[in-house]
């Protein structure tokens, strides 16, 4: 047999195999005369569902999403929403709260080692604080109204009854939808304002080597933001983009997406939001009860000089040099 003949034979065999494999998709029944019987050319719904994840077809109404006849993935999404998300979300959020409580019991409130100097230095300008609190306030509102969708019927509904709970949830839905715009605006402001100071530097490695300031008697050097704060910044930006993009898909349902897209958008939105809440719980902890002198940075905008020296020495040095002020002495004046 010549090579060409062998090649032809192989092609023929392959073609026959392909027909044999494809045949069940277009199973044709034949009449007694041997001609295909179109009426009996059955499209088995069971086989069809094994071949495609969603059975779709032509529809006479302008609503294109109605062309999806059967999508068993709805039950999968139901499982995600009712089992994975509820248990996962509860474990992640309550676990974070528990970890922070343990951290507080072990570490306590990290003090300003040298005590307060009584001298102040400006850490965040008014506009920077506005951007932070715009994002923070909308985050809390979005977080609570969002958690209500997943956990409300288990937590709040038994307390207030079905009709009151429905009224609250209806209002919460609208609040959630409209607050999203404030959150995105705050996120964009934060990105623009703080991007420069959050770029990774060599000092971040030193900060990590020194245990990030959590080990007593070891000074962790840092610029305006330390490595931990930079991680909060970048993770928040990443989570913020994911949660906003998926959120707008949910806000404009079926605009340029299909049922699978909507289900995935909800999964991304919910999972990101849960992780985002856990991250921000940690952020709130260290900015309030976890550390002495930290909250006033975003509260009044001014921090104590000794706090700045202990946590952001390189930033303070640059800042004071720029203002023409001298570095404070190690011991407070009084």
């Amino acid at each position: 047999m010549t090579f060409l003949a062998r090649f032809r034979l192989a092609t023929l065999v392959l073609a026959l195999l392909a027909v044999a494999v494809a045949a069940p998709a277009l199973a044709q029944k034949f009449g007694p005369d041997g001609a295909p019987n179109p009426t009996a050319s059955v499209t088995s719904q069971r086989e069809l569902l094994q071949q495609v994840p969603r059975i779709t077809g032509r529809i006479d109404i302008p609503d294109t999403k109605a062309g999806v006849l059967i999508q068993p993935a709805g039950r999968t999404w139901d499982y995600f929403h009712q089992v994975l998300l509820r248990w996962g979300g509860a474990i992640v959020i309550l676990g974070t709260v528990a970890l922070l409580a343990i951290a507080y019991l072990i570490l306590g409130r990290l003090p300003i080692s040298a005590g307060r100097s009584g001298q102040k230095v400006v850490r965040f300008k008014a506009f920077e604080r506005f951007a932070h609190w715009l994002t923070a306030a909308s985050f809390v509102i979005l977080g609570l109204t969002g958690l209500n969708i997943t956990f409300g019927k288990a937590v709040l509904l038994p307390l207030v009854g079905p009709d009151t709970f429905a009224a609250i949830s209806q209002a919460a839905k609208y609040v959630h939808n409209f607050t999203s715009f404030a959150f995105v605006a705050g996120l964009v402001l934060i990105l623009v304002i703080f991007l420069r100071d959050n770029l990774l530097e060599k000092v971040d490695i030193d900060w990590l080597k020194q245990g990030g300031g959590f080990i007593k008697n070891r000074h962790a050097p840092s610029g305006r933001f330390n490595f931990g704060e930079k991680m909060v910044f970048w993770l928040s930006i990443a989570a913020g983009i994911a949660v906003s993009a998926s959120g707008f898909l949910l806000l404009f349902p079926f605009y340029g997406t299909d049922i699978l897209g909507m289900q995935l958008a909800q999964v991304v939105h919910a999972v990101t939001a849960i992780l985002f809440i856990a991250l921000i719980l940690g952020h709130i902890y260290i900015g309030t009860v976890g550390m002495e002198g930290a909250f006033e940075a975003m509260g009044t905008g001014e921090v104590d000089l000794n706090w700045a020296k202990e946590h952001h020495d390189q930033w303070l040095a640059k800042k004071l040099a720029g203002e023409g002020r001298a570095e404070p002495t190690a011991t407070p004046a009084e």
Binding site: A66, W77, Y255
Partner: protein, 200 residues
């Protein structure tokens, strides 16, 4: 109690859309809302079949499970009803529904959805309205079921493709048909909706 189900014999459906029209008329469903629709698969190709689909009134209904306000529930006849007073229009039941049954009127900005509307098996609503009252009709449509009648879509079907009634009985009717004519594309959606199939 009988377990009410729908079964569409796709080998009999002629895509006439009379079920859709009957549903819209009987329940005075507003513009843009289709409680029932006919989908044609393999359109113009061998194996073309049309299937009339609405809410299948599932066992362990996924819409009822995901509803954030628990406003969807099954009756003792297996009909899945909902309370529009409590619905917040979040759209989650549509993501969970394997059959694309829930419908929402557009009521505001963006894609803001109004109260969900879907096939009630012509059994009125799941709200506080008195069965058969005008208030119930205005909100949910007809309550034929309360008068001992089956859904009008199935009752109207000219080829008796769409069957409604006790699940065991309609499965038996369909099984007899398949045995007699020698073929059948199956009970569309039954595995997904009721966790069982019609053995033919």
């Amino acid at each position: 109690m009988a377990r009410m189900k729908f079964l569409c014999d796709a080998d009999r459906c002629i895509d006439c859309n009379a079920c859709v029209t009957a549903c819209k008329n009987e329940n005075e469903v507003p513009w843009g809302i289709n409680r029932r629709r006919v989908v044609t698969i393999n359109d113009g190709k061998p194996g073309e079949r049309s299937v009339s689909m609405a809410c299948m009134h599932c066992t362990d209904a996924p819409c009822a499970a995901v509803c954030p306000v628990n406003c969807i529930f099954p009756t003792e006849d297996g009909v899945v009803l909902h309370n529009k007073d409590q619905c917040i229009g979040c759209g989650y039941c549509f993501y969970a529904c394997p059959f694309g049954a829930p419908q929402y009127p557009q009521v505001g900005n963006f894609g803001t959805r109004g109260k969900m509307d879907k096939c009630t098996y012509c059994a009125g609503g799941g709200g506080p309205e008195a069965p058969g009252s005008a208030a119930e009709f205005a909100k949910y449509g007809s309550n034929r079921f309360g008068e001992g009648k089956l859904p009008l879509c199935a009752e109207m079907c000219s080829t008796k493709s769409l069957l409604a009634g006790d699940g065991d009985i309609i499965a038996q009717i369909y099984g007899e048909r398949v045995r007699k004519r020698g073929y059948g594309s199956g009970a569309w959606g039954w595995t997904t909706a009721y966790h069982n199939d019609v053995g033919v």
